[in-house]
């Protein structure tokens, strides 16, 4: 969802006014910060973005395909599905259990993949602010 492209074209680091005049090596673009706060933030950003994208696109995609089929091929959607209902209605009602499943999946992935990173970044930010 996010249109951020910072990983493709990393911005040069801009020192804050109170920072030291000597720019560290990783900030000038000569070496990439493989460790430390920037790396964690980057990992977190990527994890959040992929989770958001996949979750939202799956949900929207299912509905969009369903809607297109409904509007474009009414004859297909009128065919009987397992259970005796028309296929369209069957696909529509199937969305309710699918939603519950999606919610559970989202919670699990967020808990596994995003939360630990977010916790680490938050701790680093707090430490950086506590340091004079």
């Amino acid at each position: 969802m996010s249109s951020d492209s910072s990983e493709l074209r990393p911005l040069p680091h801009r020192a804050a006014r109170h920072a030291s005049a000597v720019t560290p090596g990783w900030a000038t673009g000569r070496a990439r910060p493989w460790t430390g706060p920037h790396r964690d933030l980057r990992l977190l950003r990527r994890a959040c973005r992929w989770q958001r994208r996949i979750a939202a696109l799956t949900a929207l995609g299912y509905f969009a395909v369903f809607l297109t089929l409904t509007v474009q091929t009414p004859s297909l959607m009128a065919r009987p599905a397992p259970g005796g209902l028309p296929l369209g209605l069957f696909l529509a009602l199937a969305q309710l259990p699918v939603t519950w499943l999606a919610v559970i999946l989202y919670e699990l992935t967020a808990h596994r993949l995003v939360d630990p990173l977010a916790r680490r970044v938050r701790r680093q930010t707090r430490d950086a602010q506590a340091r004079p």
Binding site: M1, S2, S3, D4, S6, L11, R14, L41, L44, R45, C48, R52, A55, A56, A59, L60, F63, L67, T70, V71, Q72, P74, M77, A78, G83, G84, L85, P86, G88, L89, A92, L93, Q95, L96, T99, W100, A102, V103, I104, Y106, E107, A110, H111, D115, A118, V121, R122, T125, R126, Q129
Partner: protein, 535 residues
């Protein structure tokens, strides 16, 4: 079989009075007991995820959803079911995309979220104006609905009584918002969700029991009794009158999916959760509760058509707004035992409570925005801000009551659609772009909010809900120049485009500056404020 005559009426009257007393008591007891802004606006973020989730679900299942969508399901079958599903999808998207960033960046209102990245008075004032524009029509719809519902359930037909009901309910909603604050309204919403779901589940089970627990039998007999035959189970009944039924349907779904959950009275509940994990869990509960309710509503309203026929439903209300109640009434049969009478009363009470609670939350969202974003500046003492928030509830409520009294006899569908379209075309683009687009500038944000709103308001006058058809708000006139039911097909792209254009026109340098500024904000968007919100 369709009237609520006899003991059911007196039971309902007693139940309504007790509900009013009980909720007022709840508001007084749980209202903020210290002069603290955090407590008034968020209830100290102390609600557990389950309670918060039920409150979000309560906010989200507004009376407009229950009555209008229920009516469309009963009369149009398939199209109504799709509409209900898009309502659910909207909340799911809110959970996936916006819930956590909103919780991280917002403090009390939507103005806080947008001003977090682009501070400034212009942003706050515009946000407040859009909030009011989006919620006021919805409040008018719900308040006018109270008049209709009470007239139907209690069986009076006088115009003065209806007006009295609207004014009474309006006064109640102002009181809830002013006294209860966020915590008070949250408790009312929880109560409402529990009663609505509980009574709905019993009625749905009864309906399914009547049809031998077979969805197929239920839907086939509904199709048989709807007068439309197999068309009831296919797409196309709802938009038969329009020139482009397919586009019209897509446009409507688009408005609901994008607009439904981005309305400020729903997003304001994101700020009341304690931590990221809690907001996620709360949204899970909310989505599950809403999904359950949609299943219940589908069964009850389709059951109404199957049991008493579409003609009877349309005779009670041409748009089928009373289908949910009629379905419940029909499920219990003609001769009510005492328990059945009590259950039926619970269903009507749940709808009554839904009307009251959703209006109260919307009033609260408007009043908070007005007080926090416009009337106060940084440095205003908390005591004064709270007093202003309470006065703002009165200032928002009074014109809404007047409008509802004036508009009660017209078709209110265009007003509800305006709300959803504003949510989809102004609020959703503004939130999405400002939270996720690094180059987005202040000019872009203002363009999105103002451009999206104006597009909706201008296009809405030409839709066929406003004029040109017998069901429209002005059936006598015909200035229908935009042959659709909703404006979303044009106004949603317009909202996003305004944002992109505004950003492009503010120059490359501003864009780069915003991009650098976003880096400082990004950690907060992703992980939340370094110190948990406190005062």
């Amino acid at each position: 079989m369709t009237d609520f005559a006899g003991p059911a009426q007196s039971w309902s009257l007693v139940a309504f009075c007790s509900v009013v007393t009980l909720t007022l008591l709840l508001c007084v007891i749980t209202g903020p007991d210290r002069e603290d802004l955090d407590e008034f606006y968020t209830g100290y973020r102390s609600l557990s995820p389950l309670r918060n989730g039920l409150a979000i679900a309560g906010d989200y299942i507004s009376a407009a959803t229950v009555l209008t969508v229920g009516g469309i399901i009963a009369l149009c079958g398939y199209d109504g079911v799709v509409l209900a599903l898009s309502t659910l999808l909207s909340l799911l998207l809110l959970m996936f995309l916006l819930a956590e960033p909103l919780h991280h960046t917002g403090r009390f209102t939507m103005g806080d979220v947008l001003a977090h990245r682009m501070p400034g008075r212009a942003v706050r004032i515009t946000t407040c104006a859009v909030t009011l524009a989006a919620l006021a029509p919805m409040m008018v719809v719900q308040l006018a609905g109270v008049g209709q519902l009470l007239a139907f359930v209690l069986g009076f037909s006088g115009g003065a009584m209806r007006t009295g009901c609207i004014i009474g309910a309006g006064t109640l909603m102002i009181t809830y918002a002013a006294i209860g604050g966020m915590r008070g309204t949250a408790l009312i919403q929880i109560l409402k969700t529990v009663i609505l779901l509980g009574s709905g589940l019993i009625v749905a089970a009864l309906v399914l029991h009547t049809f031998g627990w077979s969805p197929q039998t239920l839907f086939t007999s509904a199709a048989h009794n709807s007068g439309a035959g197999p068309d009831y189970l296919r797409y196309g009944l709802q938009f038969t009158g329009g020139q482009h039924p397919a586009l019209d349907m897509i446009s409507t779904q688009c408005a609901i999916v994008l607009g439904g959950a981005s309305l400020p009275h729903v997003t304001m509940r994101m700020y009341t959760a304690g931590s990221t994990r809690q907001v996620r869990r709360a949204m899970s509960w909310a989505v599950c509760a809403v999904a359950l309710f949609i299943a219940v509503m589908t069964v009850i309203t389709v059951g109404a058509t199957a049991l008493i026929g579409a003609k009877t439903i349309a005779a009670a209300d041409p748009r089928g707004n009373t289908a949910y109640l009629l379905g419940a009434r029909a499920a219990f049969g003609t001769h009510l035992s005492r328990t059945e009478g009590l259950l039926l009363t619970t269903v009507t009470t749940a709808i009554f409570l839904t009307l009251l609670a959703s209006v109260a939350s919307m009033t609260l969202a408007c009043a908070n925005s007005l007080a926090h974003d416009v009337l106060t500046r940084p440095g205003t003492p908390p005591l004064r801000e709270m007093a202003r928030a309470r006065l703002a509830a009165l200032a928002v409520g009074t014109p809404v009551i007047t409008l509802a009294v004036l508009a009660q006899h017209r078709s209110l569908q265009p007003l509800a659609i305006t709300s959803f379209c504003l949510g989809a075309s102004a609020i959703a683009p503004a939130l999405l772009l400002s939270l996720f687009w690094r180059r987005y500038t202040r000019a872009g944000l203002l363009c999105t909010l103002i451009g999206g709103t104006l597009t909706v308001l201008i296009l809405m006058t030409g839709t066929n809900l406003v004029s040109g058809t017998p069901q429209s708000a002005f059936p006598g006139a015909d200035f229908n120049w935009f042959p659709f039911t909703t404006t979303a097909l044009v106004s949603v792209p317009a909202g996003f485009l305004c944002g992109v254009l505004g950003t492009a026109l503010s120059g490359r340098r501003t864009g780069t500056r915003e991009r650098h500024h976003y880096e400082t904000v990004e950690t907060v968007v992703l992980t939340g404020p370094p110190h948990p919100h406190n005062g």
